[in-house]
């Protein structure tokens, strides 16, 4: 069992947990992910690592409930435990392999959207600890959904933008990026974008125009996370890649986002069925025409 040492809610529907997982914490690096499973019936849920503490042997994860298993996960609290927690999986971010002196010369911008803000944190923190200061743009729907602001402030130059303008800047992250470049004299030669697929798609469209190399972190449907099932395959350039072993980070200018978005909807009807069952429990006996419960 993997004990939850601390759990809190970062926003209305965003949860943070610090989990005891010494084997993962001993060797993980920014950019890698874990797979968590609540109990026997739960699904294996891949989550990018949000923070780690090698000495305490802990991993921090941040997630948003979307299906039955993540809804179940959200019910866990301090003192509870995950039945399974495996990692680190995937490859570390390329940044950590670059010579520090080279990194210091670079102007790096991170673009974080929604719950994708969390996996940006360990990379920015790592850079900060190695004396590299980066710019970070956090985008959220509104003020209440901005997460980890205080943590980020400690380790980077932070820009926050909200879709409705309820906090700091107004508009999408792309508007903020454009303003920083066009109006505020910023020059970037490296971009890392992590967030909803649609956000990464539009960021990549823009950075391509500006000719800024851009890395994205993909989080497709996955089962084992070790290369075994191939569910996470993506088209990158002209090649088929497995996000779990070839990624999760890829050259954003080469990723086929439309195809990836389509694939991420593969299990939508099956998932909503499971979620409905989860929410309605024994009171759900079909009749909705969707769940197959009346078969």
């Amino acid at each position: 069992m993997y004990k939850i040492l601390f759990a809190d809610k970062l926003a209305a529907n965003i949860y943070r947990m610090v989990v005891e997982a010494p084997r993962v914490a001993a060797h993980c690096q920014p950019g890698q992910f874990i797979i968590a499973k609540t109990d026997e019936e739960g699904e294996r849920i891949p989550l990018t690592i949000c923070d780690y503490d090698r000495e305490k042997g802990t991993i921090t994860i941040v997630f948003q409930p979307v299906g039955a298993s993540t809804t179940e996960m959200a019910k866990l609290t301090t003192g509870d435990a995950f039945e399974d927690f495996v990692g680190p999986l995937g490859n570390p971010s390329d940044l950590i392999d670059e010579p520090i002196e080279e990194l210091k010369k670079k102007h790096i911008v991170f673009i974080a959207g929604g719950v994708g803000t969390a996996p940006v944190y360990p990379q920015v923190k790592w850079l900060h600890e190695h004396g590299v200061e980066a710019d970070v743009i956090i985008g959220a729907k509104n003020k209440d959904l901005v997460i980890l602001e205080d943590e980020f402030k400690q380790v980077c130059n932070l820009y926050i933008t909200t879709d409705d303008g309820s906090y700091q800047r107004k508009g999408m992250v792309t508007v903020c990026l454009q303003d920083l470049i066009e109006k505020e004299g910023k020059k970037y030669d490296h971009c890392v974008a992590i967030g909803p697929m649609i956000m990464m798609k539009f960021v990549c469209k823009m950075t391509k125009e500006y000719n800024i190399p851009t890395i994205v972190s993909m989080n497709p449907v996955m089962v084992d996370g070790t290369g075994m099932c191939g569910a996470c395959r993506l088209i990158v350039g002209d090649e088929v890649k497995f996000a779990c072993v070839d990624g999760p980070e890829f050259d954003g200018h080469k990723v086929d986002f439309d195809q990836a978005m389509q694939r991420s909807r593969m299990y939508k009807s099956e998932e909503s069925r499971a979620l409905l069952k989860e929410q309605e429990g024994d009171t759900h006996h079909g009749g909705c025409g969707n769940c197959g419960g009346d078969k």
Binding site: E43, S69, V223, T226, M228, V245, M266, Y267, E270
Partner: protein, 465 residues
């Protein structure tokens, strides 16, 4: 008494009934049937069947136990050689191994060794008889990577010799292909697989799940930092192959690995489990091996019309005859001498809407000795399917070989290991099973695990001599 030239028939679930459930197909022998079948063994002095068994079970002796009604003795004889008899009795290709060598088989049907092994193991389990644990340990720590057939066998044998063995398993559940690959209707999980794994643990073997060697920790770290004196790699052949034809990334195209893992390991066929599986209406399974049969029969049970699409003819199907027979009985449609050329995709939804295939004929034999399938020009046609499952085989995962210093692999990324004792290019590191041979069978992996256990024992003894 029946015809002595024929096996005592084994009872099975009616094909029409079993096509709609995940209960085991074969019921196995009862006591009377087993004892009657056991009388067919003529106890050859120079028993060929033992030579045919990759783990060299003393077959005539265990069958003698069954004949006498001393099932406990029969179980003890098998347990000397095999840690997973209830599994092997169900999934071994006996027709090409023990039963293939049986003298009875020359004039009639061979003795039903597999079904007798299964009966013996099932009887032991139902009567609470487990293999005896070793009296004490010798203090030497051995790490085994992968809790599949080769790893469990290697660990069991080493534990019996007194070693302190820990198995590291990447998934959340032990069993390897026995848990994620082979379906419930062929190999029951909680009833059979979990119990045999418990037996291995009963020998003193520890199993640590959720450890991905090469990621969570490396082999070098296990040896240098955690004090393991030797390591056995039984990590299997996990990476699925695809055909590289257009449309393969469409929604509704799965590897057999994904499809079976969702169903078997994650139990997607049961309502109370969260993991989803796609319920296709018309499913094509590409390939002709045991895994293809498993995927096809799973899709059938989930309510689909299922086609096996295979480029050679029935004679070349790599699957066991029994699996093909069962699949046909259940209503799987075999589209033989037929190869997919393109998966047709609905542009709007991204889902599979059909598959273009071409008819094949058999030409001259190729390197494998089988006649090479050749396309018949102009014979293209469309198969009306909404789901495609690729079951073309698997290759070893480079996770371990790429993170272990001094571990040599061949062109196919298979770990190079000595067949006799499992020794790899790295001192103290042994390997066996699919990680060495590429995708093969449960029992061959077990044989390799056994050989490596012997190799490791000799290595430790020579080191400490």
């Amino acid at each position: 008494m029946g015809d002595v030239l024929k096996k005592v028939p084994v009872r099975e679930q009616e094909p029409k009934v079993r096509a709609t459930n995940f209960e085991e197909v074969c019921y196995g022998y009862n006591k009377e049937e087993a004892m009657e079948e056991a009388t067919r063994c003529i106890h050859c002095k120079n028993a060929k069947c033992i030579e045919g068994c990759p783990v060299s079970i003393n077959i005539p002796e265990f069958i003698a136990g069954v004949k006498e009604g001393d099932f406990k003795k029969a179980y003890e004889v098998i347990s000397e050689s095999s840690a997973l008899p209830a599994v092997c009795g169900r999934v071994c290709p006996q027709e090409t191994q023990c039963e293939g060598r049986c003298i009875r088989g020359i004039k009639g049907e061979p003795v039903s060794i597999g079904k007798l092994e299964r009966f013996t193991a099932d009887w032991a389990r139902e009567n609470g008889i487990t293999p005896a644990a070793p009296a004490s340990t010798n203090g030497h720590k051995i790490a085994v990577i992968g809790a599949g057939p080769s790893g469990l066998t290697c660990a069991g044998d080493l534990a019996r010799l007194g070693y302190e063995v820990t198995i590291f398993e990447a998934l959340h559940k032990a069993g390897g292909v026995l848990s994620y690959g082979i379906p419930e209707f062929r190999l029951p999980k909680s009833k059979v697989v979990d119990k045999e794994i418990e037996n291995v643990k009963g020998l003193g073997v520890k199993i640590e799940t959720n450890v991905v060697i090469g990621k969570s920790i490396t082999i070098d770290q296990l040896m240098d930092e955690e004090g393991y004196e030797a390591v056995f790699i039984g990590s299997g052949a996990g990476l699925p192959m695809f055909m590289n034809i257009p449309g393969e990334s469409a929604l509704g195209v799965f590897s057999a690995n994904e499809y079976l893992t969702r169903n078997n390991l994650m139990k997607a066929y049961l309502d109370e489990y969260d993991t989803p599986i796609h319920h296709g209406k018309k499913v094509a399974v590409i390939g002709g091996g045991n895994v293809a049969m498993d995927a096809a029969r799973t899709a059938l049970r989930l309510g689909a019309e299922v086609h096996i699409v295979y480029r050679r003819s029935e004679a070349e199907l790599p699957a066991r005859a029994e699996e093909v027979h069962h699949a046909k009985e259940e209503g799987i449609i075999f589209d033989l001498l037929c190869n997919p050329t393109e998966i047709l995709v609905d542009e709007e939804t991204g889902w599979v809407k059909g598959m273009r295939c071409i008819r094949m004929e058999l030409g001259e034999p190729d390197a494998s000795g089988r006649r090479r399938p050749v396309e018949i020009p102009g014979s293209e046609f469309e198969l009306d399917v909404d789901t495609v499952i690729m079951s073309l085989g698997t290759s070893p995962n480079p996770l371990i070989s790429s993170t272990t210093i001094g571990l040599d692999v061949n062109r196919k990324k298979c770990i190079i290991a000595n067949e006799e004792n499992g020794q790899t290019s790295k001192a103290g590191v042994y390997a066996g099973g699919d990680a060495v041979t590429g995708a093969a069978t449960v029992i061959l992996a077990m044989g390799a695990g056994k050989a490596a256990a012997k190799g490791i024992d000799e290595f430790i003894k020579s080191k400490n001599a």
